[in-house]
Symmetry: C2
Subunit: 197 residues, 2 copies
């Protein structure tokens, strides 16, 4: 369906508020925009015992599930199965849905691995440690390909986002622990620095 | 400013998507709605040593900062300083801003206390443990009053939301620990159960 009127908004401070919002020029609708939640999983598989926790298999036995993005931004680069949480979902439901959509994988969620601020893009990223019970996966519609990588095979120079690298390293740092405080942004990373830093 | 046209939306599945969105009848604008992030603090004060962490003062020495709501929903009931995260903020910035707005209090944030799903209201709640350096606070514009309560003085029957009670109990359970995994919803609480349960 097309309409005769095009969407058109102006930034204004609505009555009784203290900050600018996008207000529709045609009908006065206020477009409240809040930070969005990205949920994702650091999903691993091991044939040789538990991939994490006390007594876990050696790191060389652990494979990491990554997806090569079929969509912008960062098409062609590798990422974790992750995406925007939708209305009415729990964090766990949204995380498992994204893994199904992007990697056709069924995950067993474990501890909260990390809570990252990406304030420059108004995102909060909620990352869980997860287990792939079987090495069964395939490229979903938003992925060009999906694969399991050993630690030494990870395409570090072709990762889509900083936070993919953070999550991989945070996983290794906490891998043998059952209980730990979730990781936050590395202290040198203020996301309001210019892009490219 | 008023406009001749009133806001009017219809639920439709936009082209290329897999779920219904609110689409403007006049201009076709798609109102993407995502879960919202509530940030809050379990803020405590103690005159007799550290209020939490290893070697903390006894619980009887710890006072809890609560605000009585001046706005709906749950006007007149007690809550933690908390509110919706805004665009471009970090979690820490938003948490401290809410404590200033609702309680005119300056908080020193500590560990992530809890990550709660309130999927029935499409919220994720991110709660931090926090210290009030001085017992200085006042009712902000969204609060009728603000006060410090000892554990035995907390108005349990007048709390605004379930999650206020959860956070208070989760704080006590983890109080003497420096490092812990954040708490999640109690297992008996599925937020899609009918209201009142």
């Amino acid at each position: 369906m097309t309409t005769a009127v095009e969407p058109s908004f102006t930034l204004k401070v609505p009555h009784g508020e203290d900050r600018e919002r996008r207000v529709c020029d045609t009908c006065g609708f206020i477009d409240y925009v809040n930070p969005r939640i990205v949920v994702g999983a650091l999903a691993v598989f091991s044939e040789a015992g538990a991939p994490f926790g006390p007594g876990a298999a050696p790191l060389e036995q652990v494979k990491f599930l990554l997806c090569r993005r079929a969509i912008q931004p960062r098409r062609g680069f590798w990422t974790l199965p992750a995406g925007f949480m939708e209305e009415g979902e729990t964090i766990a439901e949204a995380t498992r849905r994204e893994a199904r959509e992007e990697a056709e994988a069924e995950l067993e969620l474990d501890a909260l691995l990390a809570l990252y601020d990406v304030s420059g893009r108004s995102q909060v990223q909620i990352m869980h440690r997860a287990r792939l019970a079987k090495p069964e996966f395939d490229a979903g519609v938003e992925s060009l390909e999906v694969a399991l990588f050993g630690w030494d095979e990870i395409p570090w120079r072709q990762l889509a986002f900083y936070s993919v690298s953070w999550a991989l390293h945070d996983f290794v740092e906490s891998r043998e622990q059952a209980v730990f405080a979730p990781f936050r942004n590395p202290p040198t990373h203020d996301w309001r620095l210019p892009a490219g830093l």
